[in-house]
Symmetry: C2
Subunit: 150 residues, 2 copies
């Protein structure tokens, strides 16, 4: 993996320290769709397993049918705190698709299992639900101290 | 205000109990844009002040230039917990625009000030930064117990 994306200082640490982020896709009529996700980042790719039913009809899931029509997807990973001087977010934009390669799938699932107990101890660890790979093209990073880029 | 939107049971309570949500818009090239926001909901409208610079050039802010070209916007408000049986999210889809009416602006700012100390005690309480109003058209709601709608 060659890292081609410019990650501003602090952005990767913020993202990797979070358990939940939000994935936005776009519906065919131009309406955004955004849901919370569990995830890992390996290099410049973010992975997230779709653990909802129905397993055998992945395109029945809105986020996946959206990606089939428009692969552009964006994830925001942020830290909220009642003390607003601690606010920070990173926005990861790129194109997403289902992981088709078995080796890549296994490697990402291993990382998910290392991060989330549910991928070790529940049915999620045994099934092969669809996994989204977001190939990150651009990282934007904002903290309270640098309020110029949002 | 007449409530025309169908809020599934539990959705409004979830949303109103949260201090941060995420707002997604769409860039002209079809790339989603998503940022964390502070917000209040009054009836079927969600309000969020844009507290970033530059104050006098609101269209310089990406989320606002996006809305000028495509008013469709979606907010997700979710609860994460290491115990996944407590997961829940509500997705609020609709169209967004800047609040132009002074009375509506004042009313929403009053609600924001009641919710967030920063809107009472800092410069945010005195300036009139742009305020986004998302007119909610559809609410989707998901909890771990009802995994059929995402």
């Amino acid at each position: 993996l060659t890292a081609l994306v410019d990650w501003p200082a602090g952005a990767r640490e913020l993202v990797e320290g979070l358990e939940v982020a939000r994935l936005a896709t776009v519906e065919p009529d131009g309406q955004p769709h955004v849901v919370p996700i569990c995830f890992v980042v390996i290099g410049d790719t973010l992975y997230s397993v779709v653990d909802a039913k129905p397993k055998r009809r992945p395109l029945a899931l809105k986020r996946l049918s959206n990606l089939a029509a428009n692969p552009r997807a964006t994830v925001v990973a942020d830290r909220y705190d009642a003390d607003w001087t601690r606010l920070a977010w990173a926005m990861l934009g790129g194109r997403a698709a289902l992981v088709g390669d078995d080796g890549e799938y296994a490697r990402a699932l291993g990382r998910l299992a290392a991060k989330y107990a549910q991928y070790r101890t529940t049915a999620l660890a045994r099934v092969t639900n669809p996994m989204i790979a977001l190939r990150i093209e651009r990282v934007r990073y904002w903290t309270y101290q640098t309020p110029t880029t949002r």
